[in-house]
Structures are given as C-alpha cells and as structure tokens.
C-alpha cells in the first residue's frame, strides 16, 4: 500500500536552538532521560545550548556537575547501566581526554565483556573543532579517535535538521552514542521539520548532487564544502557533496556510490590528516573502488600542527574554501 507522504511542516531555528529542542523533547517525553555536565544548569551551558532548561526541568534532570570529566562520564555510564538514559555533555572534546578511560574501557567494552548482558545506553554530546582563536588546548578535532573504537557509535550533525533530530535516535540506540557538535555551527540557522522524530543515524546523505567530482565531509566542514561547490559551479564544475553524518559506522556504500558516479574525490576534514578520519575514507575507496578512480584522491585537512591562536595562523592551519577549490582543480587536472 502506497500512501502519499504528507509534507512535514517546518520551522526556522538556529543550530543551538535545534539541539536544545531535541534535549527538551527527550526529557519531556521520557522519565529516564536527564542532561548532566559542567554548567549545563544554572549557567545555561557553556555554549548556551541548555539555556532555560534548568528553570523548566529543575536540578535533577538538568544536573550540574563538578569539574570531574572521568567521574561524571563514568557516572553517566553507571546510570545507563542502571536503567536511565543519560545525555552527558562534555563541554568540549578537549576535556574529553580526561574521560577516555570511561568512554573506551567501560562504555565501549561492557556489552562485550559481559557476554551481551550489559548494554550502555548513554549519549555523550561534545563540542569539537577550531576557528575561534581559542588556542591549541581548545581546538582539537578528535572525531577520528572515537570513530576508531568498536562498541561506540559516532555521529556529527552538520545541519539544523540533524541537530534537531539525531539526539532522539541516539537515545533510542541501546548502545553508547557520541554526538559531535561543531562550535562554529551553533549560530547558524535554517529550516527544520517540526515533527520528524528519530532519523536514521547510520547513513550518509548527499547534500548536493553533481557529476564531475565528489567532496566527502562532515560536521563543521560541510558549509565550507558547499560554498566551494558553489564557486566551482560558477566555473562549470559540477560537484557532489556527501555529508557523512555517521562517523562510526561509516556509510561505505554511500561513499563508494558517489565515487562510482564522479570518479574523482576530495575529502575534507578539520582533523589532522595522519591517521585521521580522512585516511579511512580514502582507504575504503582504494580498497573497494580502486578502478573507479580517475585520479588520486586529495585530502584537505588541518595542517599537522597544534592550532595556533593568531587569527591568520589559525586560518592557515584549517581547511578553507580556497583549499577545497584548489584540491578539486587538482583532481580534475583543470
């Protein structure tokens, strides 16, 4: 039986509001869900994401924590084991380095080590990325590290729609899901379906169709890739842009499909190049679609240097639209 899908109503909001609405929804609709992290409550969230939620839900469900990343992430894992559905906010991935033991040695391993008895339905949100002159200790992009670890799922909402709805899907997932929100996105705004409900969080999505070359990217770099595609369009180069959305598992089929379609590939990742996410995408293409390639793949990544404070140096260290455009020219040899 085929029914005509009703066109969803849409509303306009910022990425920040979208994340907040997702959290509000989840807490309002499921007693087991609560938000926990540093300054998520009275302060309103370091990036103002949870502003207002403390007044709405109180201190049990919007729980401020002391500065104890390993402690409260582990407590979130324990609460998940105890039947809750915690959303744990680690302010930024930079501080998550203090919580990796719990994320990797506990959250990712308990299901397996217990022979399937204990799954860990935790969602860990964290901010990632650079670009605001915060210096080397506040500018890491370590999504690739997490994407390396079996037992974790890793997603990166790049659009307002995904910011709004991925959380619901992550909370339905019985296993640990890490959500990376790029700091630069919070202020961006756009249309969102008003009632999508959980969305698929395992698949990549084409954000722009094109025929000459593919760009694969995620998170904070999507906007740059789309801008580059616009510029290239003006030059008569038709660019396809694939947003990975899920970093673990990677949607290999979608990756191979776009390569099979355009035969030329540029990968854009704000993380460092060596042993990063871009390497894995390149590796999969080479393993499974080597003969589809009409040119070597190019990677546009952060320069392999701690991210400097000075604006001109920071910008030079990060992938820019011009770098993407140049890489496309290179793989097209024109």
């Amino acid at each position: 039986m085929t029914v005509t899908e009703p066109r969803h109503a849409t509303v306009t909001m910022t990425y920040r509001e979208a994340v907040r609405e997702g959290i509000r929804d989840a807490i309002a609709s499921d007693d087991r869900v609560f938000l926990m992290g540093e300054d998520v409550g009275r302060y309103g969230g370091c990036y103002a994401v949870s502003k207002g939620l403390f007044d709405e839900f109180g201190d049990e469900r919007i729980r401020d924590t002391p500065l104890s990343e390993s402690g409260f992430v582990g407590a979130g894992i324990g609460a998940a084991l105890g039947g809750m559905r915690p959303i744990v906010e680690v302010m930024t991935v930079n501080f998550a380095l203090l919580a990796l033991d719990q994320i990797v040695n506990t959250a990712a391993l308990y299901l397996h080590m217990s022979g399937g008895q204990f799954n860990v339905p935790i969602v860990i949100r964290m901010v990632t990325g650079a670009g605001r002159q915060l210096g080397a200790q506040h500018s890491h992009s370590l999504e690739g590290w997490f994407a390396h670890v079996p037992g974790l799922k890793v997603v990166a909402p790049a659009t307002i729609e995904d910011a709004r709805w991925m959380l619901a899907s992550a909370l339905v997932d019985p296993d640990p899901v890490i959500i990376f929100e790029h700091a630069a996105l919070y202020g961006s705004s756009g249309e969102v379906s008003a009632d999508s409900g959980p969305v698929d969080i395992n698949s990549a999505r084409i954000r722009r169709r094109g025929d000459d070359v593919s760009i694969i990217t995620h998170g904070g770099s999507l906007a740059k890739a789309l801008t580059a595609a616009d510029e290239l369009d003006a030059l008569g180069i038709s660019t396809e842009v694939l947003d990975l959305r899920s970093l673990r598992p990677l949607d290999t089929a979608a990756i191979l499909d776009t390569v099979a379609h355009t035969h030329r590939l540029v990968i854009v990742d704000e993380g460092w190049k060596s042993v990063g996410l871009s390497a894995e995408i390149l590796a999969r293409v080479s393993e499974d679609a080597l003969w589809e390639l009409d040119a070597p793949v190019m990677r546009v990544c952060a320069v392999e240097v701690p991210i400097p404070y000075a604006m001109h140096m920071e910008q030079a260290a990060l992938p820019q639209v011009a770098d993407i455009v140049a890489a496309v020219h290179k793989v097209l040899d024109r």
């Binding site: 609560f34 049990e60 924590t65 002391p66 104890s68 390993s70 402690g71 409260f72 992430v73 582990g74 407590a75 979130g76 894992i77 324990g78 609460a79 998940a80 084991l81 105890g82 039947g83 809750m84 915690p86 033991d101 719990q102 040695n105 506990t106 308990y110 299901l111 397996h112 080590m113 217990s114 022979g115 399937g116 008895q117 204990f118 799954n119 079996p150 037992g151 799922k153 339905v172 997932d173 019985p174 296993d175």
Partner: protein
C-alpha cells in the same frame, strides 16, 4: 546474634571461596585457566561479610580480584569456572575471563580490570537508583592502591555531593602489586580521605567476618535511611602473590606468615567451635559439601562448549531489534 544461620553461612561461604580459588590455582598450573588470575585468598571475610548484608536488587561493582564477590553474591561456581575456561557457558560467555565476571541476575557489574575504573560506574548505578526512587544500595570494592587514582577522588566527591546510596569498600591489603601503602600515600589513614568529602568512614578488621558484617550492616542501614554514601576501610591481606606472575620480591615471608596467623577462616572456625556454634564434625561437613560443589563446578566447566568463532562480532552492539 539475630540471624541464627548466619555464622554457619558465613563460614561456609568463606570456605567455598578459599577452596574454589585453590582449585583455580591448580587449574592455572595445568593451563585450563589462562590470562591474569588474581586470587582473593586471605581476604575472604571482606566480600563475604559485606555481601551477606546486601539484599536482592542491590548492585555490586568489583575489581579483577572478584571471584569471592561473585561467589558471595550467589553466582554459580560452575559458571564462574566455565568463564575462566573461556567456555560459552561462562557467566560472560567466555568473553571476559577471570577479571570480567558479570551477572545480570545478581546485579554484578564487573569485574573491572582498570584500577579505579569501577568507582564512577558505581556512582552512576546509585544515581539511577536515587532518580528512580529505588531503595537500593550499590557496593563497590576496590583496593587501597586505587585510592591514589583521580577516579577515586572524583567518584567520592560526586557520591557525597549528591548523597548517593553507595557503599565504598576499600580492601586494604597493604599492597598494590609490589607497592606498599607507605610508598603510595603519606597519609596512610585511608578513612581520612573520606573525611575530605564529609563521608562517614570506619576502619574495620577485614580478617574478622563478623566485624565486617556488623560494620557493613550499620553502613547499609544508614545508607538506606538516606544518609548518603559510607566508606569502609577493610584491613586485610592477600596470602598469595598479586597474580600468577608475581615473584613477590617486595615483601618477606615473615610478614606473610604473621598475617596467616590471622587467617579469617581459621580464626572464625576456632571461635565458632569454642562457642559450640559449629562443631568440628559440622565443619568437616561444610568442607565436604564445598568439595562436592567444586567438583561439580569443574565438571561443568570441563563439559562446557566453545562459542562458535563465527559469533565473534556479536556483542559489539546490542542485538535488540527496535533501533
């Protein structure tokens, strides 16, 4: 004594742990058990006394030295041994081994082999209970070596701050592998660490199962009464090496022998016999029962099967359908 069965129960439990682990050591020699094997021999009064006070629904988080805790919780010896054999019938299907005993039925949440790693997990389990309004306690066991870890400190603070129903059980056996407590801490009164979090903390003779039981009972009652987390320092000693690989260069035989005079099973048995609560015949009967159970456990483990290799990638993600 309120519970007339308790003495015999505690005694049998300790004997069970002791004989079970002696068997493990044997089985390790003949390579039926592999990997790391940490024996609890000498420390039986601790798990026995604490866990005896817990109720169904309470949770336990333990370390890699957790056979005693699993047995005291009532996990079947055969399934524990099968786990160490790497058999599919093991508590963790052979995926975990000696260091990773898990059991959903008795709420045993590991078997955690990262020193200090179980502490935040216990805090979270208690947080879940508190949020749900359950009247449950989570008991977490860890060595005195773990007290130096940052995760210990963060967990103590969170539990105290949120008044969570956690019973912190520090098994102070004076050594962390080869590191004596006085090489790890200047302030060796571990209960003072708890005071820094305003947490009630008591020093308990961990070689005296009744003392352990009494302290744990008092603490658990207080926790269930809403008084927040409590801390027990259980002073004990491991009679064996840290693991099967340890040449024990760091302590001398005299010290070990002195502690062996305080063997928790021997002293308790002697006391019970002196008080005519358990006769030597009854003790012999306990030993006999235990021997039978252990033989059955070995038989169970031996008869166990190997999980098919094509199932290797199971349990990376849950198998629930409703995603």
């Amino acid at each position: 004594m309120k519970d007339p069965d308790q003495p015999r129960r505690l005694l049998k439990q300790m004997v069970m742990i002791r004989r079970f682990e002696e068997k493990c050591a044997e089985l390790y020699q003949v390579e039926k058990i592999r990997g790391f094997l940490h024996l609890y021999i000498g420390e039986e009064a601790v798990a026995t006394g604490v866990i005896d006070t817990l109720e169904a629904g309470d949770a336990v988080v333990a370390t890699y030295r957790e056979h005693g805790h699993a047995l005291a919780l009532g996990v079947e010896p055969g399934r524990i041994l099968a786990e160490m054999y790497g058999k599919a019938e093991g508590v963790s299907m052979g995926r975990g081994g000696s260091m990773h005993l898990f059991d959903a039925d008795t709420r045993l949440f590991g078997g955690n082999a990262i020193v200090g790693g179980g502490l935040p997990v216990a805090v979270g389990l208690a947080l879940a209970d508190k949020l749900k309004g359950n009247d449950r306690v989570t008991a977490v066991f860890f060595g005195e070596g773990a007290v130096a870890e940052g995760e210990f400190h963060e967990s103590m603070n969170l539990a105290a701050l949120w008044r969570l129903p956690v019973l912190f059980c520090c098994e102070n056996n004076l050594y962390a592998m080869g590191t004596a407590l006085n090489r790890a801490q200047t302030q060796m009164r571990i209960t003072l660490k708890a005071s820094a979090y305003e947490m009630p903390a008591w020093e308990v003779d961990g070689m005296d199962v009744l003392a352990v039981s009494q302290a744990a009972t008092r603490a658990v009652e207080s926790i269930r009464g809403g008084a927040g987390p409590h801390f027990l320092e259980l002073r004990t000693y491991r009679f064996r090496a840290h693991s099967m690989f340890d040449p024990e260069l760091y302590r001398d035989k005299d010290e070990v022998n002195k502690w062996k005079l305080r063997d928790p099973i021997e002293t308790f048995r002697t006391m019970l016999e002196a008080d005519a609560i358990v006769t030597s015949d009854e003790f012999a009967a306990i030993e006999a029962e235990v021997a039978v159970e252990i033989d059955a456990a070995v038989a169970f483990a031996e008869a166990g099967t190997l999980e098919p290799i094509h199932d290797l990638t199971r349990f990376v993600h849950s198998e629930e359908v409703a995603r």
